[in-house]
Amino acid sequence: MPHIRIRDLQKHFGDVAVIAGLDLDLADKEFTVLVGPSGCGKSTTLRMIAGLEEASHGEIWIGDREVSRLEPKDRDIAMVFQDYALYPHMDVARNMSFALRLARYPKAEIDARIRRVADMLSIGHLLDRKPAALSGGQRQRVAMGRALVRDAAVFLFDEPLSNLDAKLRNQMRAELALMRKRVEKNMIYVTHDQIEAMTLADRIVVMHAGRVQQQGRPEDLYRAPANLFVAGFIGAPPMNFLPVRLDSREGQPVLLGRDYTLPVPPSRMAALASYVGRDLVAGLRPSALRQGKGPAGAPALTLHIELAEYIGAHSVLVTRCGGERVIVEVNSEQRLAGEGEQPFWFDPDSLHLFDPETEAAIR
């Protein structure tokens, strides 16, 4: 029984459809991340779940209640905002207890909850401070604390880390990952950062142009992206795309590029039968390419190295293959010296193929 069900959710601003029919099923106690570039509708979706934005059409079920026409306060949700949205005139303790005080919890119960959550977030020493006297990271924690003291059915996070600097963001991301193990609740988290999505999510929902592009476990999205958009969005550095044509040479199907020829992976032969003579897009992860001469029969590419960016453990090679730019990620230890033409190889099964018209993956 899924705990949150969304059916054909739509949002229009005038004639513009921001969300064009969204369906989602979230299992109980799942951490779901809505991820996508800005303007993809992920925040609007979250705000519709919260009740801050009215849905133009569709249903939102939390448990066995249809909530899409209810006020936010009647939906049993808690939310962490991108700009923290702390009450500037209340100290930290009063910020955290506001919802509980409105719900007329006994004072002892309120104090106990605040102490527990404050300890969990290490903000116990800040309880009598006003938000303006806190650093960005501390405000962030208070905003989390204000949500966590509540017994809500669903917790919503709207890009909660995007206002923090890089170092603090990494630290908070790790803490969030730890916290979500302790707080067994439904959580829906919106971000444009695919690393946050990958590290935190039980389930990732990739959104683009108001539609769900793909949803699933982080591993599934990385290994088997459903279309060009997901392939390009999930994974850093992003996947390389090479235009190819499926052709036959001496009875064997091959993928012809401008200056390169790739063999068709045997596992893909059947799916590709109807594509002979047509254009395709071949996708290769930067980490799938290995420098040097591979084992006999392994597909090979000759890449012209233009730039080697040393990052630390890894180096990123910016290369050209025919007219296309190809990014290669290599282990710095094994980095070969030199620029110019170098041989590379890859495992045939690491090759992704897409239909350029529908942009869908061919499997």
Binding site: K73, A78, Y87, P88, F98, L102, A132, A133, R150
Partner: protein, 298 residues
């Protein structure tokens, strides 16, 4: 080198000097002159040298004068009533119109019109409205079969009537400032309150009002200071009457100076009023610096 350093230190004062000179002539001299005059007895039209030094006599006379105390009472009643009513009405209007509904911008424009009208004209408008024979208010009451109200002719009603006129003119001032403060509030904090379970009313009470309170406090003090100095509207409407029922301090000063021609006593009165307004102003500045101090600490 030392001379140049001295010059550098003096430079800011050189730039301030013209403004200081103007303030000296236009502000400080009249004030000092008024203090000097309050210790003398002098009539308009006679040479200043004929003024006779009387010490604290003018003040002693004032404090013993019933009409002075009545005037103080009227002024305090008037100022308190208008400030309370204007703050309550202005904030309430701002809360109602702080939303994006069709027509709200038109309403906002209409509501601030009274503030734009010259006080003399406001007085004339209300004298017409309050006219007990031909005024629209009396006509309306008559049409409804209700007895007429002695708007300006009864001592009790006259003060209420001038308060109504002032509230009509100056509620928009509070309204504009309250609306600006409301629209400057962080939208997400109000959304957070909705998520936290606050009703519209609780959001107003616990989030919006506390956050705009500092602005409202400053606006109310400004109105209070102004209310102590109001003159034209009351002069046009009642000239302080009937009896002394609407004779606020500024009108009392005016009459003492130009009707009774007792300039020394009028000066003493002015100085007392100045003292009251000064205390209020100091309160205002203190409130503001307190608020800024808190903002700085936060």
């Amino acid at each position: 080198m030392p001379s140049r350093q001295g010059l550098n230190r003096a430079t800011p004062y050189l730039f301030l000097a013209p403004a200081a000179a103007v303030a000296l002539v236009g502000l400080v001299y009249p004030m000092l002159r008024s203090v000097w005059l309050s210790f003398h007895e002098w009539s308009i039209g006679t040479p200043p040298e004929s003024a006779r030094f009387v010490g604290l006599e003018n003040y002693r006379w004032l404090l013993a004068d019933d009409s002075f105390w009545i005037s103080v009472g009227v002024t305090i009643t008037f100022a308190t009533a208008v400030v309370v009513l204007e703050v309550v009405l202005g904030v309430a209007l701002a809360l109602v119109l702080d939303r994006d509904l069709r027509g709200t911008s038109l309403f906002r424009t209409i509501f601030i019109l009274p503030m734009m009208i010259a006080p003399i004209v406001v007085g004339l408008i209300w004298r017409f409205l309050y006219n007990e024979q031909f005024g629209p208010l009396s006509q309306a009451l008559k049409a409804l079969g209700l007895p007429g109200i002695p708007w300006l002719s009864s001592p009790d009603m006259a003060l209420v009537s001038v308060i109504i006129a002032d509230v009509w003119q100056w509620t928009p001032f509070i309204f504009i400032l309250a609306l600006a403060a409301l629209q400057g509030l962080p939208a997400s904090a109000i959304e957070a309150a909705r998520i936290d379970g606050a009703t519209r009313w609780q959001t107003t009470l616990y989030i919006k009002l506390p956050l705009i309170a500092p602005v409202i406090a400053v606006a109310a003090l400004l109105r209070l200071i102004d209310a102590f100095k109001v003159l034209e509207v009351i002069y046009i409407l009642t000239e302080g009457g009937p009896g002394l029922s609407t004779e606020i301090l500024s009108l009392h000063i005016y009459k003492t100076a130009f009707v009774s021609q007792q300039l020394g006593r009028a000066s003493a009165l002015s100085n007392l009023l100045l003292l009251i307004v000064l205390v209020l102003t100091v309160l205002l500045v203190l409130a503001r610096s307190l608020r800024e101090g808190r903002a700085g600490k936060e």
